[in-house]
């Protein structure tokens, strides 16, 4: 059997497996969790933009609490995300709102005492 034929058969098998995976998603973990994705920090004109997605993989609709603290102000946002849903949160940070250059973020799943995502951003304005 030639190498070419082996490669062809292997390609077909791989394609079949991928097709099965994409249709039935057997590779998706059954673990139920919430994740933060597409997190980005962008420098704008006289501002910083912090952006991320909350992805709900809990298998059910879940509620989340997002807490922001900049030293000068705090803000709380509540959101309910259906299973498999994505919620995008964007926070614009301006020089006048930041004290000591720190922005604290904590994301809680409602009913849980500890955040499943926590971060501190050190912001500097030139």
């Amino acid at each position: 059997m030639s190498k070419l034929r082996v490669f062809f058969i292997f390609s077909l098998v791989l394609l079949g497996v991928l097709l099965v995976f994409t249709v039935f998603r057997p590779m998706v973990s059954e673990e139920k969790c919430s994740t933060v994705g597409r997190e980005s920090v962008i420098q704008g004109e006289d501002e910083w933009i912090i952006q991320f997605d909350i992805i709900n993989k809990e298998g059910e609709e879940s509620s989340y609490i997002i807490n922001w603290s900049t030293g000068r102000e705090t803000y709380t946002e509540r959101v309910s995300i259906k299973d498999g849903g994505i919620f995008t949160y964007i926070h614009h940070v301006y020089p006048q709102t930041v004290k000591e250059g720190k922005v604290n973020l904590a994301i809680y799943k409602e009913g849980e005492p500890t955040p499943f995502e926590q971060a501190t951003y050190y912001i500097r304005f030139d």
């Binding site: 997605d53 995300i81 919620f87 995008t88 709102t97």
Partner: protein
């Protein structure tokens, strides 16, 4: 000697003849003189489609007209002698300036008063009724245009009180003027004893602010509004457009003397400004030495001041700055209640009241399909994967939250963003982020104040806690999904292509 006596006698006789001839009336101007009269009253009227309209101001009182405005002027003249040319000429001058003849209509002068063509059919004698009651010929009217020499005025019955109507056009230049009429024959007569005090005021240049014009009785609940009265106006030409929200404007208040008489010092000026205006401060209070601003916050603003000297043939000014309200999403009128109470020349109480109205443009909040915010779009489909929200008229440099809700009213994005220093607010949402998770249909972009703890988790129509919202349609094409089946076919196609290419190469190699 005898010859000498005869010569003297001839000289005396010649002188006697000359003197005698001179004693007889001229055969050419036998007894004629220029007309003489006293001007006893006047009234000015608006032009209503070519006919006499509403009277401007009061009888024999100063009036205000607009630049280029056509007005009807009715004079009541008490003629003591017959006019010579039986026609009259008009003159004008800026206040205290030099008299000039009125220009003929069509002269095209923006600076001179002009006669309007009075030969329209609807300006015939019958179209004009007597205005003043105390006339010898109440129904007599007379039109004059320039040059209109020779015979329009009656040859008889011209002595006594008559009404004469003129149609004139104001110049474009604003200012205070005097106008008068006289017999066209030189030397001019009559010498007018009362001249018309007429001020050209550019109302339209005061943008969204309106005020009681002299003679307007609609707001005279406490006292009459007089031609020499109280005026509130704006500092710039807005062409009648509403004012921009969230913008500081300078407003002026002028107190004129009262019916030509001085107003004593010690009068009180009160201006009430709605609390929705912000940053109210005095700009010029030189004529009101103790003027001060109070209020604000939960209360309306108040400016109170006292004129420190008599107002005599002059105007006292006060100006203040105020920032127009924001976050009103319909054009909104705001009233500045402006009142002055003083003491007139005869010890009488003078009360002026002006309900100045400021029209402020509505704030905006719209969805666009381009980053430059040039094309408003409420339907997002193929090639339109981002909605760019933009609005004007928000509070300047203020924190907001823009919440986006999908077709299932679920919150998919919250953007914590501040308006800029000009009160503009912008935000965007990229639809493909929500492939397989968001629902197409009617989406909503709702603006909440930062003080609101959190935009609600699901969309609330006309949420009283929101500032403003806008809706738009998001179609399937705006959230392009690359289906797995298509992906599989693409992968298979690529595999086949690679296999076919490699096989072709191998066969070519074997044949060689």
């Amino acid at each position: 000697m005898v010859k000498m006596k005869l010569s003297c006698l001839r000289i005396v006789l010649c002188l006697a003849v000359v003197m005698g001839v001179c004693l007889f009336p001229s055969p050419v101007y036998a007894g004629a003189t220029t007309g003489a009269a006293d001007q006893t009253a006047y009234a000015v009227f608006q032009n209503n489609g070519g006919s006499v309209g509403t009277q401007i101001g009061l009888d024999s009182s100063p009036v205000n007209v607009e630049p280029g405005q056509y007005v009807f002027v009715c004079l009541q003249l008490n003629w003591t002698t017959v006019m010579k040319q039986r026609d009259m000429k008009g003159q004008w001058r800026t206040w205290g300036g030099t008299w000039q003849d009125m220009a003929a209509i069509g002269a095209g002068s923006s600076t001179a008063w002009e006669y309007w063509n009075s030969n329209y059919a609807d300006h015939t004698v019958d179209a004009i009724t007597a205005h003043f009651g105390d006339t010898n010929q109440k129904t007599y009217t007379f039109e004059s245009d320039y040059p209109g020499y020779g015979g329009s005025y009656p040859t008889t019955n011209a002595v006594g009180k008559n009404e004469s109507w003129f149609i004139i056009q104001a110049p474009e230049n604003v200012g205070r003027y005097e106008i008068r009429w006289y017999d066209s024959e030189s030397p001019y007569a009559p010498t007018t004893t009362v001249q018309i005090d007429i001020t050209v005021v550019d109302y339209t240049s005061w943008g969204g602010i309106f005020y009681n014009k002299p003679g307007d009785t609609t707001e005279q609940t406490e006292a009459g509004t007089y031609a020499n009265g109280l005026y509130a106006y704006l500092d710039e030409d807005n062409d009648g457009d509403p004012l921009t929200p969230g913008t500081a404007y300078t407003f002026y208040v002028n107190v004129h003397e009262w019916q030509g008489n001085a107003i004593a010092s010690g009068g009180t000026l009160n201006i009430t400004i709605p609390k929705q205006f912000t940053s109210v401060s005095l700009v010029d209070k030189a004529d009101f030495y103790d003027a001060a601003v109070s209020g604000g916050g939960a209360s309306d603003w108040t400016i109170t001041g006292t004129n420190d000297s008599a107002i005599s043939n002059a105007v006292d000014h006060l100006s203040f700055s105020a920032t127009t309200p924001t976050e009103y999403f319909t054009n909104t009128n705001w009233e500045f209640d402006t009142r002055f109470t003083g003491t007139g020349g005869g010890g009488e109480t003078v009360r002026y009241i002006v309900e100045a109205v400021v029209l402020v443009q509505a704030a905006t909040w719209e969805s666009y399909n381009d980053e430059a915010h040039t094309t408003v779009d409420d339907y997002f489909s193929t090639g339109e994967q981002t909605v760019y929200m933009f609005g004007e008229g928000f509070q300047a440099s203020t924190a907001y939250h823009v919440a986006y809700y999908d077709g299932d009213n679920a919150k998919v994005l919250s953007d914590g963003v501040s308006s800029n220093s000009g009160g503009d607010l912008s935000s965007l949402c990229y639809f493909p982020t929500y492939q397989e998770s968001a629902v197409i249909g009617t989406w909503h972009a709702v603006v909440y104040k930062d003080s609101v703890a959190s935009p609600p988790e699901t969309y609330i129509a006309s949420d009283p806690n929101s500032v403003v919202e806008d809706s738009f349609e998001v179609t399937y094409e705006a959230i392009p999904e690359f289906p797995t089946v298509i992906a599989g076919i693409a992968v298979a196609g690529m595999c086949f292509g690679i296999y076919y290419w490699m096989r072709k190469r191998r066969l070519a190699y074997v044949k060689a």
